[in-house]
Amino acid sequence: MNFNIEIPHSIDELVLTLNKFKNKNYRIGAGCTDLLMELKNNSASNLTIINISQVDDFNFNNVKLSNGNVDIGANTTAFKICENENILENYKTLHEAALNLASAQIRQVATIGGNICTASPSGDLICALMALKAQLYIKNSLGENREISILDFYKGVRKTDLKHGEFLSHLSLNSNNKNAFKTKSGFIKIGTRKSMECSVVSLAYHIQIDKKGNIIETGLAFGASAPIVKYATRACDFLIGKKIDSLSKTEIDTFAKLVVEYASPIDDIRATAWYRKQVLFNISKSILEKNIEK
């Protein structure tokens, strides 16, 4: 493994570094837990790592409240996300996804931006952020900004909308609906082991319910069952307006079928495509069969 390294210490320096390297072979590394593994296996020549872990910028490295929304800097570690009380209280799916990411040691350094931009089909945080319909904010090497919904960000296996010379600066989560009285929010990860395991199937859900028990907003995404993490729009739409406590068995089955329609899994070392679809169907049902939490 051999590469050069650039270490910007501020966002401005990062922008300048990207400008300098925009026509060269570079990769951006934050926690580098995935990147180093990749480079240990396939070392590229003339590669420069733009090491952003030492960028000293509060908004880039932390979770903060902003006009009722929650902004999360791309360099925020999974550990900080686990520890954030606002996320635990209002976006439980993201809390649980972060808590189930790899191991305690990895969570100390792995960042949310790294998980988003690595674009793994089984990315745990991606899955939760899709269920929450996160908005991503991107900066380029000229310092210009643009934004994109995470639902439109993924273009294929490990391919994103991020262009050469751009980096993810932060993401934003909308506050929950003001009429939401309860939320049913969580993250289910199925694997052969609880820790350090790439999911066989993962499912993130965030369902908001009003005082009368009507479902008013729904977000649901699943991982490891398609080339990218998938958002199940039709399944989400199906639930809107229904009463959470009086869903029939047929309605729950229909909902789970609508989720599975988005799956196109493959057979691989971890599971067969058939198994993945079956598990996805069962865990989709399970979220509506459980009693409402919180």
Binding site: M1, N2, F3, N4, I5, I7, G29, C32, T33, L36, M37, L39, K40, I49, N51, S53, Q54, F79, L99, A102, S103, A104, Q105, I106, Q108, V109, K194, S195, M196
Partner: protein, 173 residues
């Protein structure tokens, strides 16, 4: 941190087991290799070299991190603690090490240094949490298991290790 002119190397300095050290490392150097090869601290073990087994766990600013997946340049300016750093001036073992020994939680010993460092980080986490708490709390059995999820042991079956950690952390947080 200073880049060495005309090379792909950096001079970094950090606090290692409470002593300031300076070392010249390649840009792509991994902390685990620097600790073992350049600084001769072989208590930190190379296991899987891919962040799975936790044998290489060290503390960075008090928190457990896999040194096999950590760029050495990022250690610059930080406080690194390895298993060697837990022994005090009188060469006494850390209470964590003694509790593991007393509870029969060590067999081949390869995972032990990483396991000890992870337990230490959990102890640090609870000590800091308890500073601002009205009543002292200790981690539950489930929390200990969760915290040690990144440390593999192929000998003990974990039971003795978890029991030892629980015994220690109930008293010393």
């Amino acid at each position: 941190m200073v880049k060495i002119k005309g090379t792909n190397k950096y001079k970094i300095s950090f606090l290692l087991n409470q002593t300031k050290v300076e070392v010249i490392v390649k840009a792509s150097a991994i902390l685990l290799d620097v600790l073992r090869e350049d600084l001769n601290l072989t208590g930190t073990k190379p296991g899987c070299n891919e962040g799975e087994c936790g044998a290489c766990t060290v503390l960075i600013n008090g928190a457990a991190v896999n040194s096999c997946l950590y760029l050495a340049v990022n250690a610059d300016g930080k406080e690194i603690t390895t298993i060697e750093g837990l022994v005090n001036n009188e060469s006494e073992l850390d209470p964590i090490q003694n509790t593991l020994i007393e509870n029969g939680a060590v067999q081949c010993g390869f995972c032990t240094s990483g396991m000890v460092m992870s337990i230490k980080s959990l102890q640090n986490y609870y000590i800091s949490k308890n500073k601002s708490a009205k009543t002292k709390i200790a981690p539950t059995n489930q929390e200990i298991k969760k915290w040690l999820e990144g440390n593999l042991c192929r000998c003990t079956g974990y039971v003795k290790i978890i029991e030892a950690a629980e015994k220690l952390l109930t008293e010393k947080v």
